[in-house]
Symmetry: C2
Subunit: 595 residues, 2 copies
C-alpha cells in the first residue's frame, strides 16, 4: 500500500517535470499524420529564418540550423505548450550579437564561443528560475517596457539589415550608430546586390499582403493560400539562389552564403569557462527573461484558444533545457517565437511531437541540402529578416499607452529612445528601472480622501465630492493605497499638517478598506503618528482594517498603545465617538460589513 | 488693488521660503532670555561633539567648530522646526570619512577638499530636492533599512574609536576591517592613553546612568540634574586636559589635539571642481538622504509635541542651505542631530534663534578658547563618541521586526551584515535594493480569494474560510492588491489554470474593492484574459471597481471589448448571471454600495 502510494507520487512528480510521459503513451496514428503535415510547413519557414537569424547574431549560417534541432526535441520532452515552436528568433539573436560583440569581433572563435556560452548560461538561469519558481522575475519587465524594447529592437534590426540588402558595410551597437554608418557609406551601394535585395523585399512584402487575396481570387482554398504565404520566403530563397548561380553574380561582387558545412553538429559539452560565464551573466539574464516573456505570452495565448493548460514554471525549465540543448549542439540562444508558433497552431499541431518532426526536417536539410545554399545571397536573407521584424514595430502602442497612463507612456518612450540611442542593454535596464521608480513614486503619494457621512446613511464619502455630514472634532481619512515604506512618511506629514491646521480636532480615524499591507515602516509611522497625536491630546482610531493586517498588527505593540480603537466599520468608529450621528441612521443593524 | 494683491502674494512666497520673515518680527525679550539659556547648554554639548565628529570624519578638530556656526545661522533663517539643532552628527561624519577616504588619504588637502565638496554637493542636492518637492526620495529608505544601517554604523563608529581610546592604530572601511586591524595590533596598547580613554569612558557611562539619580538624591531639581548630565562631556574634556597638562602626558606618548587655529573660518567659495563633484555624487546623495531622514524624523517628533507644523520640503531647503553654509565656511556635511535637538527642545527653545546664539557661542570658543584645547587627549574625544553612538545601536528593533514581518526583517538583517562586512555605502545600497525587490516580490503574488455568497446575505466571502453558496458556472475572484506589472502575468496564469481545471465555468467575475491601480501592463493582461476566456466560451465580469480606475479604463478599448459587464457590486454581478441567487437575499435594495 505504502509502496504503491510512493510509486504513484513519484510518477506524478516525473510527469509534472517531464510532460512527454503524460502525452507520449497516448500518441496515435491520427495525431502523427497531423503533426507530420505541420512539420513540413514549419520546416519550410524555419530554413531561411534559421540561416537569417544566425547571420543577424553575427554567426555562420549553419549555427542557425544547429539551433533548430536539439532545442525542438528538448522542448517536446519538457514543454507544456502543444503549439510553441522553439528556435532562433529575431530579438534574442540581436541580443546575442550585442553581448558577444562586447567580448570579441564577429568571425572569431571567441565570438562563437561567447554565443554558445550565452545559450548555456541563459539555459541554466532559466532552469534555476524554473526549479525555484522564480518566474515572477519576468514580471519586472512591464508591458510598456517590453513593447518599447521590441519596437526599438525591430527598428534596429531592420536598419542593420539595410546594409546587406544594399551591399554596403554598416555596423553599430544601436540604431543611431547604424543609421550614421549607413548615411556615411550610402555612396558605396553595390547595385547588383541592391537589385536582388530590394527585389526580394518587394516580393516578400507582396507575398505578405497581396498574395493571399490573389490566390483566393483564383478560387484557391484559404488554408492552401495561407500555406503559400508562409512558403514565400523559401520561394524567394530558391529564386535568388537560381539567379545568382545562373548569372554568376557572386563573381560580380554579390555576397553569398558560400560553403555551409554538411552534416549534423557534434554534441559536446561547451568549455566550463566560469570567468566568461560571469562576464556574460547580465546579458544572459536579459536574453533569458526577454525570451521567456515572448515565449510564455505566445504559449498562454495559443493554449487559451483550446482551453489547454500551460505551466509557467515548467516552461522555464523547458526553454532552459532547449537553450542548453542548443549550446551542446553548437547553437545559440533560442526561445519560443511568435510567427512560427502561430503557424504551428493554425496548421493544427496537436502535440509537441510536431516540433520533433520539424527538427528531423532541419536535420535532413543539414545532411543533404546545404550544398544548394552555396549561392544564396546574403541580401535575400537580410530581406526576409526586415520583413519579419517590421511586424514587431508598433508605434500605435505608444498612442494607446499615452491615452491610458502617462507614467506607462514615459517608461515606454524612455525604453525606445535609450534603446535606439544607447543600445539594447541600456535601453532594457533603463526601462525596468524607470518603471519600478515610477510605480514607487506613484504609491509614495497615495490618494487620501477626507470623508464624511452621507446624511441618513452609514456610508462615508469624500467631502470634496459629496454633500456629507462631519463633526469638527473628528478627522476621518480614507487611504486608497497599501501603507508601506514609500508612503510611510507621507502619512506622517499629511496628518501632522491636517491636525496643525485645525485646532478643533480631537479624533483622527483612518479608514483602511483599500490597505492591503502595512509594512514595518508604516507600522512605525503609525506608532509615531499615534504618539504625536497623543502629545497633542488627540486620539487615533482605525476602521475597516482587513483580517490579515489585523493579524500582523496584533503581533506588535501598536494595538496596545493605540489611543483610540480599531472598529470594524467606519460608521462604528464615528458612532462610538459621537452617538448623535448614529441616531441619524436607520436600519444600522441590517447593513453588514463586507470585507 | 492689484498691486497690493501682488505684494501680498509675493510676501507670502517669501515667507514660505524664508520662515524667519514670519517669526523674526514677533521676536521679544522673553523669548530672547529663554533662547539664550538654551544656547549656553547646547554650546557646552556641542564643543566636544563638534571636535570629536571632525576627528571621526578624519578632519582637523577646528573643522568641527567651523561646521557648527554658519549652518546653525542658515537653518535659523530657512528652517521650519523650532527645536532642531543642526551641526555635525556621527553617521554623516562616518559617511564623510568613507567617501573622502576613497579619493585621498586623511590629512591631505585633497581629503579636506573632498569633505568640503561632499558638503556642497549634498547641500545642492537637498536644495534641488526641496525646490522640486522631491522629498519622497527619502522614503525609499525604509525604516528597517535605516534602522539596520544606523545600528551597523554605530557599531562601526564605536569599533573605530577603540583605537584612539586604547592608543593603537586601527583602521578600516568596515567594522570587519576595523575589528581585524584592532585584533592584530592589540599588543601595542599605549597604557597611559588607555587609562585616560577607559577612564573617560567609565566616567561618561556613569554620567549617563548614575549621575542623575545621585544628584536627585542630593535634592537637586530634575531640570538642573538633566543639565549636569548634558555637561558631563565638557567636564571630562576639562578634566583630562588638566591631567595631561599637569602630568606632561603628551611627552609620554599620549596623543593630543595640539594646536587648533584660532579665529573664525574664512568664508570662501569652494573650487567649482565638477569632475570631483561627479565622483562624489552617489556618496553625497546618500549622505543627504540619510541626514535628511534623521533630521526630519526628529523635527516631526518634536513639532508634534507642541502641535507645531514642520514643512518637509522647506526642511530640504533649510538643511541644504546649512550644508552649503558649512562648505563655504570650511566645514563638512551637517544635519539635524537627535541628541542636541532633544536638549534644545527640553531646555525650552522657542525659536530657531537659539541656534543663532549657539553659533555665537561656538564663534567665541573659536576666537578665544582654542589654546585651551591644546592638551585635549584624542582618547577623551573618542570616548565621548563611543558613548554617544552606542545609543544608536538597537538590536531590539531586529526582534520587533522579526515578529512583525519576515521580509522587513530580511531587509534589516542584510543591511546590517553588508554594512558591517562591506562598509556603509554597499550596506545602504543593498538594503534599499532588497527592500524594493521584496516589496515587488510580495505584490507579484497577491492574495486572491475565490469568493462565494454568505447564504441569505449580499456579502461575499472567501470559500475557504466561510460556508458560502457558489454557482459552479461562476468563478468569483477577489484580488487583494493593485493590478500592475509585477502581478499582471500572475493573474493571467491564475485564471488560465483555474478555468482549465474546471470545465463547467462559464463566467469569471473579478471583485476589485482593494484594487487601487490598474496600470497598462495589467490592462493588457486583462485584455488578454478577456480574449482567451472568450475563445473558451467564457465571459469576464468586473465588480466593485473604484471610480478613478473606471475613469482610466474608459480611456481604453477594454470596456467595449469586455465580454461581460462591470457591476457596482459583486452581488449585482452574480445576480445578473443567476437571478435565483438574488432571490435568496432580502433587503437587497437597502444595502448601498460603499466605495
Amino acid at each position: 500500500m505504502k509502496n504503491s502510494n510512493f510509486k504513484e507520487s513519484a510518477s506524478k512528480i516525473f510527469k509534472s517535470y517531464i510532460p512527454i510521459l503524460e502525452w507520449g503513451p497516448k500518441y496515435n496514428k491520427k495525431t502523427l499524420g497531423n503533426d507530420l503535415i505541420v512539420a513540413v510547413i514549419v520546416t519550410m519557414m524555419l530554413i531561411p529564418q534559421s540561416l537569417a537569424y544566425a547571420l543577424l547574431a553575427g554567426l555562420p549560417p549553419e549555427v542557425g540550423l544547429y539551433a533548430s534541432m536539439a532545442p525542438l526535441v528538448l522542448y517536446a520532452i519538457f514543454g507544456t505548450s502543444k503549439a510553441l515552436a522553439v528556435g532562433p528568433v529575431a530579438v534574442a539573436s540581436l541580443m546575442t550579437a550585442a553581448a558577444a560583440g562586447q567580448l570579441a569581433s564577429q568571425g572569431t572563435s571567441e565570438y562563437y564561443g561567447a554565443a554558445i556560452a550565452l545559450a548555456i548560461v541563459s539555459g541554466l538561469l532559466l532552469m534555476i528560475m524554473g526549479f525555484l519558481k522564480l518566474g515572477f522575475l519576468a514580471n519586472f519587465l512591464s508591458h510598456p517596457v517590453i513593447a518599447g524594447f521590441i519596437t526599438a529592437s525591430g527598428i534596429q534590426i531592420a536598419a542593420g539589415q539595410l546594409g546587406p540588402v544594399l551591399g554596403i558595410d554598416a555596423h553599430g551597437e544601436s540604431f543611431l550608430d547604424i543609421a550614421i554608418s549607413l548615411w556615411l557609406s550610402i555612396s558605396s551601394i553595390h547595385w547588383i546586390t541592391a537589385a536582388i535585395g530590394i527585389g526580394s523585399l518587394l516580393f516578400l512584402f507582396w507575398v505578405r499582403s497581396g498574395l493571399k487575396p490573389w490566390l483566393l481570387g483564383l478560387k484557391m482554398s484559404v488554408k492552401v493560400a495561407d500555406i503559400m504565404v508562409k512558403v514565400g520566403p523559401v520561394v524567394t530563397v530558391i529564386g535568388t539562389i537560381f539567379i545568382v548561380w545562373a548569372m554568376g553574380l557572386d563573381e560580380k561582387g554579390v555576397r553569398i552564403v558560400g560553403e555551409v558545412p554538411e552534416g549534423l553538429p557534434k554534441i559536446q559539452m561547451p568549455p566550463l569557462d566560469f570567468a566568461l560565464w560571469l562576464k556574460i551573466l547580465v546579458p544572459a539574464l536579459l536574453i533569458s527573461i526577454v525570451g521567456y516573456v515572448e515565449s510564455i505570452s505566445v504559449a498562454l495565448t495559443l493554449a487559451a484558444k483550446k482551453r489547454q493548460r500551460v505551466d509557467p514554471d515548467q516552461e522555464l525549465i523547458a526553454i532552459g533545457a532547449a537553450n542548453i540543448g542548443s549550446a551542446v549542439s553548437g547553437g545559440f540562444p533560442v526561445t519560443g517565437g511568435f510567427s512560427r508558433s502561430v503557424v504551428n497552431f493554425n496548421a493544427g499541431a496537436e502535440t509537441p511531437a510536431a516540433g520533433v518532426f520539424t527538427a528531423v526536417g532541419i536535420a535532413l536539410t543539414t545532411l543533404f541540402l546545404t550544398p544548394l545554399l552555396f549561392f544564396l545571397p546574403n541580401a535575400t536573407l537580410a530581406a526576409t529578416i526586415i520583413v519579419a521584424v517590421l511586424s514587431l514595430v508598433d508605434f500605435h502602442a505608444l498612442k494607446l499607452t499615452w491615452a491610458y497612463s502617462k507614467t506607462d507612456f514615459a517608461a515606454m518612450l524612455v525604453t525606445i529612445i535609450i534603446t535606439l540611442v544607447e543600445g539594447i542593454e541600456p535601453g532594457l535596464i533603463a526601462g525596468v528601472g524607470l518603471s519600478i521608480f515610477l510605480h514607487l513614486y506613484k504609491t509614495s503619494r497615495p490618494h487620501v480622501a477626507v470623508v464624511g457621512q452621507l446624511p441618513g446613511t452609514e456610508t462615508f464619502r469624500n467631502i470634496e465630492r459629496h454633500g456629507v455630514v462631519t463633526d469638527p472634532k473628528i478627522l476621518s481619512l480614507r487611504v486608497d493605497e497599501s501603507l508601506y515604506f514609500p508612503n510611510a512618511r507621507f502619512m506622517e506629514d499629511l496628518i501632522n499638517s491636517k491636525v496643525a491646521a485645525n485646532p478643533e480636532i480631537r479624533h483622527v480615524i483612518l479608514e483602511c478598506p483599500a490597505v492591503n499591507v502595512i509594512d514595518f515602516s508604516a507600522l512605525e509611522s503609525l506608532e509615531a503618528i499615534n504618539h504625536r497625536l497623543k502629545d497633542g491630546g488627540i486620539s487615533l482610531h482605525l476602521s475597516e482594517v482587513k483580517g490579515p493586517i489585523m493579524d500582523s498588527l496584533s503581533k506588535s505593540h501598536f494595538l496596545e498603545e493605540l489611543t483610540g480603537k480599531v472598529h470594524l466599520r467606519q460608521f462604528d468608529a464615528v458612532a462610538s465617538i459621537n452617538p448623535k450621528l448614529a441616531d441619524h441612521t436607520r436600519n444600522a443593524e441590517k447593513v453588514s460589513k463586507r470585507y
